[in-house]
Symmetry: C2
Subunit: 408 residues, 2 copies
């Protein structure tokens, strides 16, 4: 017997479905627009108030306590990576919507209990696949990213986020006037810890730090045929050296850091011209912010030394440092209590991946709840969490939200 | 006093001009269309017959000997690299056109001398910057590349060469019915040898061999945050290792080979997804075909070994071997004689870069003549050859063509 949640997940998995069983719903594309339209219909059909703000964040408002100016917000994101799975983000949006529906029904059955309102949310461009940086909509809502700067972010073809949202009809004009009191997000883990330990609910109490370095390698264009090898200034060879170097630093350092170089652009990217401008997006992640920062510093120094003999200069285009953060301790305590009551095993953990909850935590106490992810596989079409595990997460979320809207 | 040739070069340098003084005229773009339209006007205004063939090759026909079914062809290409200079290709097209005009005038003044006809040509997509492989139009004309295959070549956005040519109005329907007897191409050297030796005319007697290996690295998509480092199968890290390895093989081998890895595509190329599919275009060039082939073999074996520990497989997408070739010895002898008569220093040499003359040499005896290139700089906006050197090349070309159309 399939739950409403799993039927809804099936429906959304068909929007932007890829042949390999995953989804591709990049922000501001027709697929994103299709998922948003379906979510809007689901919100309206549940008698929730629909709002779309200027950065395209979508809200479904349950006015549980009309005299209150406060709201608890629950949500996640509908956008995906190009190689996205069927659960990342969309699980939290749909579970959030169903939890709001359930809490609203209970509030109607128990009048006077709800002290504040409840809002389901879909945040724009969490993934940062088409537009960098990621966590865009939640950062604008949190006040840490200016709306104009966010709308002006350009994709690889020069289309801005503002234009892309307008094209799919989701550059809104409304604002959520309620004051956010708390935020809760339910997500698949995307790592292997819960599955390995056989635990059903992850209570995320904080996050790893990250240092994101986007470097530009400047060489010189020349003919790849007759130009003498010693005369070339090859920016791609320099970038290749730096990519291997940054992996070696992490591997040999023994710090347990995670590192990645996953995006690259090459100019002119013609087989017969020595590349003259190459940009690579590097990341170092560690539980200790000082380690991530130090790795970045060491990498920059060693990379410059490693490419100097190639006649290539390195320019720092982006040096973004995301510190560690402590998520809402009260939300964690409520989650632990609810899991215990429902008979689910639970453990505290930290998130290595970025989430909207981390961006929103800068404006309001935010909570993040994980369910297991098979083999820890994510940003992969084979991403999988079984139906029972998904439903357990929803059950916990619903009761946590009930407590948050009814407590003093 | 600027010559007609140099005034024409100035005019064409404004079509697709880049702010840094170079040109960008990729095949089938509006800039290519603009240069073609201007060439068509120059052809027609000189009372030459204009033909455009189905792959977009343009011909300006001087009917010097109407009873003959033969023609000598002279030409080069108007397309450029994205970081193209003002001389590469366009010099040979415009010098060819002016030489045809001069030979036609002399033939009119000396009736009965011309034994065959003379044709100025612009070959489609010599550079291979937007569509691979390069030398497209000349290879179709030589009969070594099927027209349908050439028209179906797709650029990075999926637009075919046929569509791009149709869009600018240069997918023609005519065919050059004359039988090609010889081909001659005048070009800037793109290397430093003539300048270093102080020689005015390069007589190209052959070419280096090349092995072009386009390799696909297959990894697995995963989240760049929580996925354990040992669990990742990173195709970009594997490609980076292979890029550095292929340069080291050439550097340390001491063979004097030239090598390049200048084009790369990455999927999904998102900062937060471990790259799962990366394609790199590698090249090895050497005077001895066996050395180029052996380098490629050794590279493939070592690259596979180097990336195996990363869980990445290597697929060979393209393995193209261009052998050495001997260009037209008769054309070389004529060029040497003409240079001597005109009082220009000349030397025999080989070309490392590909040229339409090499593709056409498979159907007809082809000659290639170089003039010096300052610092050997090419595929670079700073490419430069002075006016006097350009005019010397035109003078040699004109007399060589006169001999070729008048000899028995």
């Amino acid at each position: 017997m399939t739950s409403t949640l799993n039927r809804l997940l099936e429906t959304f998995a068909r929007i932007g479905a890829t042949p390999d069983g995953g989804v591709c719903r990049l922000t501001g594309t027709p697929e994103d627009g299709g998922a948003r339209a379906r979510l809007a219909a689901e919100i309206v059909s549940r008698q929730l108030g629909l709002l779309v703000d200027p950065i395209g964040n979508m809200f479904g408002v349950a006015a549980l306590a009309p005299s209150s100016q406060e709201a608890v917000i629950v949500g996640s994101h509908l956008d995906s990576q190009p190689t996205g799975g069927r659960y990342d983000g969309v699980y939290g949006v749909l579970a959030g919507l169903l939890a709001v529906e359930a809490v609203a029904a209970r509030a109607a059955a128990e009048p006077g209990k709800a002290k504040r309102n409840l809002v389901a949310a879909n945040w724009t461009n969490e993934e940062g696949a088409r537009f960098q940086p990621s966590l865009t909509g939640s950062s604008v809502f949190a006040g840490t990213l200016a709306l104009d700067a966010a709308l002006g972010l350009a994709d690889g073809a020069g289309v801005t986020l503002g234009e892309a949202l307008a094209a799919i009809g989701y550059r809104g004009t409304a604002d959520l006037s309620l004051a956010p009191r708390r935020y809760v997000e339910l997500h698949v883990e995307q790592g292997p810890l819960l599955e390995e330990k056989g635990v059903e609910i992850g209570i995320v109490i904080g996050c790893w730090a990250a240092r994101k370095l986007s470097l530009v390698f400047h060489g010189e264009p020349s003919h790849t045929g007759p130009t003498r090898m010693a005369r070339r200034r090859d920016a791609l060879r320099a970038a290749a050296r730096a990519i291997e170097l940054h992996h070696c630093l992490v591997e040999l350092g023994g710090s347990g850091a995670h590192a990645s170089a996953a995006r690259i652009t090459v100019d002119p990217n013609s087989p017969n011209v020595t590349p003259c401008r190459v940009q690579v997006w590097f990341e170092f992640r560690h539980e200790d912010a000082a380690v991530a920062v130090a790795l970045g510093d060491r990498f920059l120094a060693e990379a410059r030394a490693a490419v100097a003999s190639l006649g290539v200069d390195i320019e720092i285009a982006v040096d973004e440092r995301r510190g560690t953060a402590t998520l809402d301790p009260h939300g964690a305590a409520l989650t632990a209590a609810v899991a215990r009551e429902l008979g689910f095993s639970a453990m505290e953990m930290k998130t290595i991946a970025g989430h909207d909850a981390l961006a929103l935590n800068k404006r309001m106490p935010a909570s993040l709840i994980f369910v297991p992810s098979h083999n820890g596989l994510s940003h992969n079409p084979a991403e999988f969490t079984d139906e029972a595990a998904l439903d357990k997460g929803l059950a916990v979320l619903t009761d946590v939200l009930w407590r948050m809207v009814t407590e003093e």
